[in-house]
Amino acid sequence: MSLSPLLRKVFLVDLLKGLSVTFNNQSEKERITEQYPLERPVVFERYRGQPRLNVNPDTGESLCIVCNLCALACPEQLIVVKGERNPVTKRKEVVSWTYDLSRCMFCGLCEEACSTDALELTQDYEMALYSRDGMVLDQAALEHGQEPVRYAK
């Protein structure tokens, strides 16, 4: 054994280095754990969470033109859009719009495919439910969004 590793061993240099690391980790700045219900993490803008169907903010009409592109783009085929042409306005209007959240993998292809920016995956991440019952979202749920279950004692 050459001199310097021996000295390192005798004076416990490596042990002291380790001790300094753990000591410095105690500072509040290093903390990573969040106290979730009290501190909510800010997710990134491009985070893909709870889906939403946008409405025209002025008229309150759905932006969806029932082109069915999202349903075609969806690899899981969990979007089912049914529409009917309105004889007066000559536009297709939504009859039923369902989105099966339980099968969704949040790939965002539907969002990409939407030609009118009607369908959007928002930054809401609190989508956990106790059963699969509420996971098939209809038009109303998609437009108004689901209230996340708030933590309370």
Binding site: V21, F23, R31, T33, Q35, L38
Partner: protein, 426 residues
Amino acid sequence: MLDAIKSYLNSGMTPGEYGSQFWATIYIVAITLGVSLSVIAMNWLERKILAHMQIRLGPMRVGPHGLMQPFADALKLLIKEDIIPANADKLVFWTAPVVVTMTAFTTFLVVPFGRTHAVTDMNIGVLFMLGISSLGVLGIIMAGWSSNSHYPLMGSLRSSAQMVSYEIAMGLAIVCAVLMTSLQTGTGTLSMIGIVEAQNAQGYWFIFKFFPLGFIAFMVFAIAMIAETNRAPFDLPEAESELVAGFHTEYSGFRWSLFFLAEYSAMLAVSSIAVTLWLGGWLRPFANTLSGPTWDLAFSLIPGLSFLVMAAGTLLGTIRMPKIVQMRAQAIGLGVFGVLLALVGLVMLLPGVRERVQDIFWFVAKVACFMYLYIWYRGTFPRYRFDQLMKVGWKVLLPMGLGVLILTAVVGLRQELLAAIVGGAR
């Protein structure tokens, strides 16, 4: 009642003239309660400090900053089902945790918390403490054997092998300190109080004596005592990844909590041996360099002031609590805790109290540093392999202890040795 306390404070008397049965009884009760309380505090502190070292938060929900967590744990342990394995040796299984706890608590009989704050002043104090704390290994072997299961048996075998091999290094380091009491002043003593008095008389703590000999002896002891109490990084008897929980695998509920209590009070006991032998026991820092009435007053204010600082920190934490309805009860609880700390601090600033408390304060503060070190080591060092453990014990610590012992004797008797050599040459 109040008058009695007042007259006592004005009398200038000190409690615990050792030998008095009345004070001994009071100290036994106080030490039992104090040690149990500090084990509870250690439980919380260990979880919090370890968590902070691992960039976590630790318990935060049960009470403010998880302060009530140890009480919740204790309650859980008490109402847990008490299982005795079907093929266990029931009598031994019953007595093992009792033996371990009894030995851990008995060692505190000779620990001097202050010049007059001790249950008894035994003239073989160090020997008694070593003997009693070595009996703890008997309880561990009993627990491992009586469980009638593989993991506990292997854990207890490891534990006994480890304790036996580290006790030698520990003993050599202790003999070193005992030797130091006899040098220069010529009053060799094994009494714990006598050892601290010798440090007072010689003018410095034994850790600085014959530098670096005292320091090396202290280091040998400090490493051996971690192995002796089966703590990380020498916690092979309870290595979770290999032996489930070691010797207390089959124990649950209250009996398990007795093992827990014993482990932590053994830690406190060996730390107080280390403090007594090398760090001047109850002596305040710089007792000789910074002496005089002004410094005495300044140092006697430190106990109360440190409590006030802790109270200030707690109150700051109360202000920084999240201001929401769910946390209001916790914030109030933390505030009350801070006010209590401040009250204790103010009481400790009273002239009658502060002179009697400062010895205990310095002793406890030094032991607390050791407790922090225990947690720090646990948060940092990975566990040793068993052969590495034995190698450290037999090939490093034992020769070091022997060498330091011989060198201490040589350095301490250098004049006599020189005279003998010169005389022999003539």
